[in-house]
Symmetry: C2
Subunit: 214 residues, 2 copies
């Protein structure tokens, strides 16, 4: 996995940025700030959601499960943003090798059949889904208090396969990059500055500045 | 991993059973019914929660994060049940290689520091947690529409490491068994009966009938 962008940007692109952390002063919020600012400075259109701030309702109800189900306007809007996104950035802490429930619920409700994936005609739903997202790249930034070696040895870093394979590859987004920043709880201000610079560099590599058309 | 119980039951034990599926007539509900009935018939005390039915509030708020934070009475009660459980059974569909958000939120809010795990004194939170649960076994039953071979090859079956390593081993429950029933969407009534018999057998192996004291 390289950190080299496959988006050779001429025009502004739409970047959907989703943050899921309950504490306003968290490092996750700092990552989100840098991501939003970098995308804006590079000339892109940013759609940003702080799921906690917006009180996103995380629980997928039975009525929304069918492919053609009606969904509330707020979910329909989230779906349109996802469909129209040229790039996606998710920011969240590692809680139990998974995203916080509020972000899991965003996936459950917004990454719908007919929006993020679908099954081929005649398939009963047991086949290989066809990805529908047109985003050219997806980035995930995580924070953790588990040292990397223990994360790999004891847990196998499940967030990597969850986001890379179970979500984005399934939905047709194969240009994927993820970075886990750890150990947060013992990190210094200096270390955090270095990490935030790394966030900005990564965002620019994947979503470079808009160039004038020749 | 064997399916042989390490609980050699003489007295009734408390079994905590958690169901997370939005549809009342789902096979997950059938699994839960069989699990509850088998535990009861075997003479055990059952605590059962249908998280959707109970409208469990899945989102962990910032105020509940500190170890010694006050939590609402309903969460405190869930924590007491978890602490007092001799056995735990979770039942949920595989959504994106993870549990539904409502069950992820149950873990986020109920598997608290000081309840399910803690850090050694002097540890800043980056060390290896100490498991606090006294349950002698944890079972997880899942349903999926992904054929087993594709699940393993394309996704690596992340639910196995999520529940076995990231949650239960971390919290001190090392006697773990999980079964994924698939492919649900094309399964016959006959196949489902076989699967429900398997659920009953597994539950009895782990939580066998109460024996009279000699």
């Amino acid at each position: 996995m390289t950190c080299k962008s496959r988006i050779n940007t001429i025009f502004p692109v739409k970047i959907l940025i989703i943050l899921a952390h309950p504490h306003k002063g968290s490092f996750n919020h700092a990552i989100a700030d840098v991501t939003v600012r970098t995308c804006s400075e590079n000339g892109h259109e940013v759609i940003f959601h702080d799921l906690y701030e917006e009180d996103f309702q995380a629980v997928l109800p039975d009525t929304e499960i069918p492919k053609n189900a009606g969904v509330p306007a707020i979910i329909e809007n989230h779906c349109k943003e996802l469909t129209g996104a040229d790039g996606i950035v998710l920011i969240h802490p590692d809680w139990w090798g998974q995203p916080p429930a509020i972000l899991k619920g965003y996936i459950d409700r917004v990454f719908r059949p007919g929006v993020a994936y679908e099954f081929a005609e005649g398939d009963s739903g047991e086949g290989v889904p066809i990805g529908l997202l047109s985003a050219k790249a997806a980035l995930v930034f995580n924070t953790s208090n588990t040292p990397l070696q223990r994360e790999l040895e004891a847990f196998g870093d499940p967030l990597q396969t969850l986001w890379k394979n179970c979500v984005f590859a399934l939905c047709g987004v194969n240009n994927f990059y993820r970075k886990m920043f750890s150990v947060m709880v013992t990190s210094t201000d200096e270390q955090r500055k270095v990490w935030l610079n790394e966030v900005a560099e990564t965002v620019t590599q994947y979503f470079p500045p808009v160039k004038a058309r020749v």
